[in-house]
Each structure stands twice: as structure tokens, then as C-alpha cells.
């Protein structure tokens, strides 16, 4: 596989000519712009793995026609529902086959073995098509929206194809909604200097998050996790700390780059992270973490589920929340660790449901620079909880994760490990501090590095500062954690 990762010279070589063509030679009509973007997207996807291109095209064609069919039968609800079900079965079926087949097969055989029947099995070697979890969710949402008459189906195959295959977001999201993205594709895009510059800014920030923060954290967390049984126990907590930061910086960095790149083409994708660690409770955190997935789950899983369970009041609500989060976890991959990760997060909501605090979502310390002491303690405790839960996200299996956590809570928990004074640890902590300091200062803005209102010296000072940090402390990397999902 040759993915054109955003933080590579190859990607720059890919995107620069397209940008020039786009704004100089293809600017005459929306159709020309869309043709160029679609051709680039197909090239981008095929470059990574041409075999799955047929799957992507099949998904586009089938969803395109099903949506039109659903609309055509607007006076015949049973027929409409039939087309919707065909679409649901097709899209979910794709995911189940490519992503979950072996998992269910293995789990089934293990279950059979429990009942005394011994059978051996061979799993199929199924390759996971790139971006499948992202684009199938997007087409699923599209069909459901058309069925619910929230949006009109697209009758322009070119535009719909671009909506699904658009290269800045095809590999790892954001999971876009037709209601937000289609109107932008349906109009000719005019060059807007401020949007273009804002895109560049966001790319710089994403690049910094990815190759400075995430990669430096990874270089510490990986050796600890890979060999956790032979580590001094006091270091395991640090390993979990650096992994939690890595996971966040990796995916939010990717998202910011994707959104920034798209802005260069005049298309605004949805925000995917809104400084999630500056939250005072778990519900607040999930409102700000991987927003395009959580809002998707909210609309298409949680709402129907809690609606059908509404007779059971709070217990129905809790059940719906837990089921939704189990799905959120399972969406990440065919592994019990992800299911458990989701289950735990669902359980963390229970106190909120009973205290009625579930709805409170405010920017922490709005209007002030410093949080109050209580806010600070709440944020730190929440971070600690998320950090420990992330161990399930990182581990290969549940036993490994529980063992890791058990080792953390051994009698060495209060020992300060010597490694913390190693230069690479101190450097990473220093860089993380800068990262969160800038995020904190911009937490009320539209994105983490929206600094257009700063004066020119501070702005350029910050650009050069980040650029130098990237130059000196950046580590090259060819992959992102979320590519595997």
C-alpha cells in the first residue's frame, strides 16, 4: 500500500498541481471543479490500493440509485422502507464482511468450544479496504436522511461521487453529512483568501500535533507498551499518559490536516475535535471527541434506540447510552478490547444520568484565562479516567490491558520513575505543554489554531516557532492510528 499521507513530500507533490489547476484552469464552473476533484480522489484512492477502487465505486453507484428510488416512492412507505433496508443491509453487510467476519467467526467457534464441542478453524484472510468504516457510515447516514426526508437525494452522479470519495476525508474522516457538504459541492467555489490562509494555518497545527506531539509520545509509549511486563511498575503510568496524548494528537492532528487541506479547495468539512481534554465531565468530553462519529451515533443509533425505549425512562436511557457506546467502541475494530472500551465509557455516563448533569456543556472557564480550582481538579480527574480507559484501546487483548492496569496500581504507584529525568521524556513533556497551552488559549475559537485576530508579529512568531519545532523535533511517520479503522 502506498498511502499518500498528508505529512509526506509525495502528498505535497500530489496536491500542489491539483491546487494550481483547480484555481487557475478549472475555476470556470462547478462541474469542472468537481471533475478535477473527483479524478484526483480516484487517483488518491487507487494509489493507496487500486483493488478496492471497485468496491468504492460499487458503493457509490448502489447508494446513489437507492436514494433516488427511496425518493421516487415517496407515496408508498412500505416500498420506501424496502429500499432503505436494502441499503442498510448492503452498507452494514460490507462492513460486517470486511471488518468483522473473522471476529464473529472466531468468537462463534470459541463459544462452541465452551460447550464441549472442539472444532478448529481457519480464518479467511480478508484485507480491510481503506476508509471503509468512514465512507460506509457516510452513505448510511445519507440514505437514512433521504428516507426521513431531511435532505433531497442527489440527482447528479458526479456530485454524489465526490461527496463519498473526496480525497481529504476518504481515509479517516471526518464522517461528513450530506446536508452540510452537498450544498458546497453544488455551487461553484470562489477563491477566498481568508479561508485559504485559515486552511494553511490548520494544516500547520495538524502537522505539529502529528509529527511533533504524537510521534514523540509514541516513541516513549511504544517501547513501554510493547514490553510492559518487564518494565519497572512506576513507569507504566507514564506509558499510559503518553499514549493518551499520542492518540489524541495523532487523530486530531490528522483531522485538522484533512479539514485544512479541504479549505484550500474552498470546501469546509465539519470540526472533529473541540479541545476534548478541557472538559469537566464525560458527556462533555464525548461532545468534543471525534465529533463526526459521536454525532453520527447520536442521530442514527442513540436517538432511535432511546426513542423505542422511552417507556423505561432513565433505565431505558442508560441502556441506550451503553449500547451506543459499545457500538462506538466496536466501530474502531473487531476486537473485544474496543467493545470493552465502549462499555466502560457508557458506564461512566450513569452517574450523570442520575444527577441530571448530562446536559451541561460549557467551554471551561469561558471568558477567563485560568480555570477555577474545582474545574482544574475535574479536568485532571477526567483525564486520568480517560487515560486509564485508553489502555484498553491500545492493548491487544483484554487480559493484557487488565494486567497492565493491575501493575500500575501496585505498591510502586507513588514512586517517581527515574526515566522522567531522561532528556526525551523532559522534551516530550515540554512539547506537550506548548501544545495544550496553545489549545487552551484558543479553546473558544472555531479551531485550535484560529489566530487570525492576533497581530501580525505574534502570528508570524507562532508560525515560525511551530515550524522550527517541527524542523527540530518532528519525527517522520508513514501512518496514522486511525488508518487501521
Amino acid at each position: 500500500m502506498f498511502i499518500l499521507v498528508f505529512n509526506s513530500i509525495n502528498f505535497v507533490a500530489f496536491v500542489l498541481p491539483i491546487l494550481l489547476l483547480y484555481w487557475f484552469f478549472f475555476k470556470k464552473s462547478k462541474a469542472a471543479q468537481n471533475v478535477l476533484l473527483l479524478a484526483s480522489s480516484i487517483f488518491f484512492y487507487a494509489w493507496a490500493d487500486w483493488r478496492f477502487l471497485f468496491l468504492l465505486i460499487a458503493s457509490i453507484v448502489i447508494n446513489y440509485y437507492l436514494a433516488l428510488k427511496i425518493r421516487k416512492e415517496v407515496n408508498d412507505e412500505p416500498k420506501q422502507r424496502r429500499f432503505l433496508y436494502i441499503g442498510l443491509i448492503f452498507n452494514v453487510g460490507l462492513l460486517l464482511y470486511f471488518k468483522y467476519f473473522n471476529f464473529f467467526y472466531e468468537s462463534f467457534v470459541e463459544l462452541v468450544n465452551v460447550f464441549g464441542v472442539t472444532s478448529s478453524y481457519t480464518t479467511l484472510s480478508i484485507l480491510l479496504p481503506l476508509g471503509i468504516s468512514f465512507f460506509t457510515f457516510q452513505t448510511l447516514g445519507y440514505l437514512i436522511d433521504v428516507y426521513n426526508e431531511e435532505i433531497d437525494p442527489s440527482d447528479n452522479f458526479l456530485e454524489f461521487s465526490l461527496f463519498v470519495a473526496y480525497f481529504p476525508k476518504i481515509l479517516s474522516g471526518p464522517i461528513e453529512r450530506a446536508s452540510k457538504m452537498m450544498p458546497q459541492i453544488q455551487e461553484k467555489r470562489e477563491f477566498r483568501y481568508t479561508l485559504f490562509v485559515d486552511g494553511l494555518r490548520q494544516i500547520l497545527w495538524g502537522l505539529f500535533a502529528k509529527i511533533v506531539i504524537a510521534e514523540n509520545c509514541a516513541s516513549i509509549a511504544n517501547p513501554i507498551f510493547d514490553n510492559y511486563e518487564n518494565q519497572p511498575e512506576s513507569i507504566l503510568l507514564l506509558g499510559a499518559f503518553f499514549y493518551a496524548i499520542q492518540l489524541y494528537a495523532d487523530f486530531s492532528g490528522y483531522s485538522n490536516m484533512a479539514i485544512g487541506i479541504s479549505k484550500l479547495f474552498g470546501i469546509q468539512l465539519m470540526r472533529n475535535f473541540a479541545t476534548p481534554f478541557f472538559s469537566t465531565n464525560i458527556s462533555d468530553f464525548w461532545r468534543k471527541w471525534h465529533i463526526s462519529l459521536t454525532t453520527w451515533m447520536m442521530d442514527y443509533v442513540f436517538t432511535p434506540l432511546s426513542f423505542s425505549l422511552r417507556r423505561y425512562h432513565k433505565s431505558g436511557l442508560i441502556f441506550a447510552i451503553i449500547m451506543t457506546f459499545i457500538l462506538v467502541g466496536f466501530w474502531h475494530g473487531a476486537n473485544w478490547t474496543f467493545i470493552f472500551y465502549g462499555l466502560l465509557h457508557g458506564i461512566y455516563f450513569i452517574p450523570l444520568v442520575y444527577s441530571g448533569k448530562i446536559n451541561s456543556s460549557e467551554i471551561v472557564a469561558k471568558g477567563n484565562f485560568f480555570p477555577s480550582f474545582v474545574e482544574l481538579v475535574k479536568m485532571l480527574l477526567l483525564f486520568l479516567l480517560i487515560m486509564l480507559t485508553d489502555i484498553f484501546f491500545r492493548a491487544d487483548n483484554i487480559e493484557e490491558a487488565t494486567y497492565y492496569i493491575a501493575l500500575i496500581f501496585s505498591n510502586e504507584i507513588l514512586t517517581i520513575p527515574n526515566e522522567i529525568f531522561n532528556s526525551n521524556y523532559l522534551l516530550a513533556i515540554f512539547l506537550i505543554f506548548i501544545f495544550f497551552f496553545i489549545e487552551w488559549s484558543n479553546r473558544e475559537k472555531k479551531h485550535d489554531f484560529e489566530i487570525s485576530n492576533f497581530n501580525i508579529f505574534i502570528r508570524w512568531g507562532l508560525y515560525i516557532f511551530l515550524f522550527l519545532l517541527i524542523l527540530f523535533f518532528g519525527k517522520s511517520s508513514e501512518t496514522f492510528i486511525y488508518f487501521q479503522f
Partner: protein, 79 residues
């Protein structure tokens, strides 16, 4: 039932669940305008409204609710 009575009943439901009445009832009022009325409290509110009017919503009705005006007209069609 008159729209005014329907609105009054909805207003009572909201007040009992959200524990405040910092909202003004008008047709353009949306959940976003009302503190605490989000996707989580939404279901509890919907259930209480169903009980208050002795009606049953469909999921599709729910998706069509855009503001107070549409909620009132959906209720009117059901009673």
C-alpha cells in the same frame, strides 16, 4: 385542542423536566434555544408530552420536528 392550550401543556412539561422556565413559547423556538434541552433530555421530554396528550409519536414524526410550531402541529394531527 387550541394551539394555545397545547403550548401551555408543552411549557409545563418543559418546566417540570428542565427545572426552569427561561424560554419564551413561540413557533420558531427550537431545542437549541432552551437550556438543557439536548438530545439526551429530548427523549424524556417527548415521553412526557406523549403522556400529557395521550398520543404516540413515530420516529419519523420526531425527525420532522424543527421547532415549536411543527411540534404543535404534529400534536394537533394526533389528537
Amino acid at each position: 385542542m387550541e394551539t394555545l392550550t397545547i403550548k401551555e401543556t408543552i411549557s409545563d412539561v418543559l418546566e417540570s423536566i428542565l427545572e426552569h422556565n427561561n424560554f419564551e413559547m413561540h413557533d420558531e423556538l427550537t431545542a437549541k434555544d432552551v437550556d438543557g434541552w439536548d438530545s439526551l433530555s429530548h427523549m424524556i421530554i417527548i415521553t412526557k408530552i406523549e403522556e400529557a396528550f395521550n398520543i404516540k409519536f413515530k420516529l419519523r414524526d420526531l425527525n420532522k420536528l424543527k421547532n415549536m410550531g411543527s411540534l404543535v402541529s404534529v400534536i394537533q394531527n394526533k389528537i
